[in-house]
Symmetry: C2
Subunit: 225 residues, 2 copies
Amino acid sequence: MQPINRTNLTESAAESLRAEILSGRWAIGERIPNETALTELLAVSRGTVREAVRVLISKGLLDARQGSGTYVRSTVDTSGALDRVKRSGLRDQWEARAALDVEAARLAALRHTPGDLDRMRGLLKARGTVADDGREAFGRRDIAFHRSIVEASGNRAIVELYDFFTSAILETIHSTLNGDLPEPDDRAHAAIVDAIATGDADKAAAAVRSFMAPVLRELERLLSQ
Amino acid sequence: MQPINRTNLTESAAESLRAEILSGRWAIGERIPNETALTELLAVSRGTVREAVRVLISKGLLDARQGSGTYVRSTVDTSGALDRVKRSGLRDQWEARAALDVEAARLAALRHTPGDLDRMRGLLKARGTVADDGREAFGRRDIAFHRSIVEASGNRAIVELYDFFTSAILETIHSTLNGDLPEPDDRAHAAIVDAIATGDADKAAAAVRSFMAPVLRELERLLSQ
DNA sequence: GCTCATCAAGTCATCAGATGATTTGATGGA
DNA sequence: TCCATCAAATCATCTGATGACTTGATGAGC
């Protein structure tokens, strides 16, 4: 039986290089040793060095320029962050998304354009009910509506993370949860849009918060069983 | 002059493979063609194929097993999400982190232990001033204090993202911003801890929000110049 | 008929060598 | 001083070979 931690040379080399970069051994923008030198430093062949470097390039830590060298692009590695977020549990993910959702509504109240409001209301009308054409299709329309609010915040970082949480939560619910979560009715949805339309950030935030509360309570109940 | 979108074979191959995987061409757990076959499919050498596959392994899409084959591990790619967040601009990042910070304080008010409060107060006392031993060291202590609040939320997803934003924002500020951001005084910091200690979630959230406001205003001013 | 050691084929892991493409700084003439 | 040219350095890519590991087939032994 092999030890389960057995790893290959490429990963060892990549990990070793990554640690050096994160330690700040080379400053941002500085050139790291060339492939031949790394071959000796890491005691692996050039092919293995190239695979390791390629991984770090894809993580955004390095930047290779043909004819010139390989340079440090960043000394912080965030590639594993989302993996850990994924493993953080459904309640935590839901809370984090709710935080973004609330802040998005707050910003949307301040920054929304007339077009944003039209789009929200159009998607809310098109949302319909589960009975129309099944749960999955309804889920997609529901998500589209909520996303339109987040988009109206004009904050791309929040939109991006919101999308991530949405897919992560969906995946988790599919695989772990069987019970149904309460689905707020049209009136609750419309209340959010109306609050945003008033331009009152606190009111918009409160609307989303009270919208989320019952779902979160039910979620905690289901998870504590 | 070369077109700026010029890319190398490895990236083309990786992108091509990634697209096939995301399209669902192979089911999760299914084995993809071996290296020799990929060499023909992608019309590149084995070395290039290996580099491309290695990148997709590091993204969590593939899983290579020596002697057996290379298998699909996931058909959703979230690895680019944080990259896009990084490129979303300083204001957006700050707002997103503030949202998490506010929610963390809210949760901390509800869930904190006596030990949490002790730690926060200890770190606040140890925080001192810039004059003590330079800006960088002070910055680290300041971050440690704020992180202790986020940790007290008991939400790992929020902690993880908070860390991400902290490092991303620090890096951006280092490279783009020269002006100083306002630094709230000890009293403002202590007010957050006190609010959390009362167990009143709204009060804690409001404390963090008013703490953040002047910094965000100054940030917008600096960025609009 | 069942079990299990053995084996061979298939596959990824790694190495070594060679050539091409590109960048960059040095050189030297106009 | 300017600029075309060149050579060295570096990454990009290909090719061939060998090793390590997995897996299913085989067949002896019971």
